[in-house]
């Protein structure tokens, strides 16, 4: 494929262009949005930040879950060994 020339484009501005070419153009020219538009922009940023925070939560929960699985397996092993050594369970062989 022939290399593209011209300025860099961002993935999000491609979406903006497809949604409305004129709004994309005005955004590129740094034309001020009305109060509602500015509010929506801020709300979008906040929503994305919340998604990032939720992603951190999911990671933390998954780490805790993995640790708990390891701990549970260890506990099962200890309980079984204790039961065998106390003679409450006998090896079948």
């Amino acid at each position: 494929m022939k290399p593209a020339g011209g300025p860099y484009l961002t993935a999000s501005e491609i979406g903006a262009f497809v949604y409305c070419p004129q709004a994309w153009h005005l955004g590129r020219q740094n034309v001020a949005r009305n109060a509602g538009g500015a509010r929506r922009l801020v709300a979008g940023t906040v929503a994305h930040r919340q998604i990032g925070a939720r992603a951190d939560w999911v990671r933390a929960i998954e780490l805790l879950r993995r640790l708990l699985i390891v701990a549970t397996c260890g506990l099962v092993a200890i309980v079984v060994i204790q039961l065998f050594s106390a003679g409450r369970l006998v090896f079948p062989w």
């Binding site: 494929m1 290399p3 593209a4 020339g5 011209g6 300025p7 860099y8 484009l9 961002t10 993935a11 999000s12 501005e13 491609i14 979406g15 262009f17 497809v18 949604y19 409305c20 004129q22 709004a23 994309w24 153009h25 005005l26 955004g27 034309v31 949005r33 009305n34 509602g36 538009g37 500015a38 929506r40 922009l41 709300a43 979008g44 929503a47 994305h48 930040r49 998604i51 990032g52 925070a53 939720r54 992603a55 951190d56 939560w57 999911v58 990671r59 929960i61 998954e62 805790l64 879950r65 708990l68 699985i69 701990a71 549970t72 506990l75 200890i78 309980v79 204790q82 106390a86 409450r88």
Partner: protein
């Protein structure tokens, strides 16, 4: 032994609780079985992806792994349905992932309001459409041409540039 068994039961209960919590949080993020690699605005931020060949740049909201592929994920928390603009944005991110990581993702993911996951197949036809769109944008920039407003009621009424486009003017064209 009794103490150990009680601890074991508590661990199992906690594990069940964590599993349910994890599943509900992942559902909110629109994830199913994919492994999360990075997420924007998190402790493991998604890197900004560049392609000098396509002169394209972007940062997906998340990168997840599905088999050998890295899949870009885009969140649209206020959107109730999939739109063409979302599809092209995800296509651009798929192209960037292919360029940067060397493996073409066969699809990208879009997460709409309420964590609804939509899959965007990254086909050759979609890639061509993306390249055509980029060429169209660059032509406008090169010629320093304004696309011009076009009244689309549902978009224009909610647009932050409404006054700039339509202040005192008639709705010149309707589509």
């Amino acid at each position: 032994v009794v103490v150990l068994v009680i601890t074991l039961v508590l661990c199992l209960v906690l594990l069940c609780f964590l599993d349910r919590w994890r599943r509900s949080e992942r559902t909110e993020l629109g994830l199913m079985n994919e492994a999360m690699i990075s997420a924007d605005d998190s402790e493991h931020p998604t890197p900004t992806l560049y392609s000098a060949r396509y002169r394209l740049v972007g940062r997906p909201d998340q990168l997840v792994r599905a088999g050998r592929m890295l899949i870009p994920v885009e969140h649209k928390p206020r959107a109730r349905r999939l739109q063409d603009s979302h599809i092209l944005q995800v296509a651009a991110q798929c192209l960037l992932v292919q360029e940067v990581y060397g493996v073409r993702p066969t699809y990208g993911l879009l997460v709409l309001a309420g964590g609804i996951q939509e899959r965007v197949e990254f086909t050759a036809a979609l890639e061509q459409r993306l390249l055509d769109t980029m060429a169209e944008m660059r032509a406008l920039l090169r010629e320093d041409r304004e696309p011009g407003p076009l009244w689309v009621a549902r978009k224009c009424r909610a647009c932050g540039f409404r006054e700039t486009c339509w202040d005192g003017a008639d709705q010149r064209a309707v589509r």
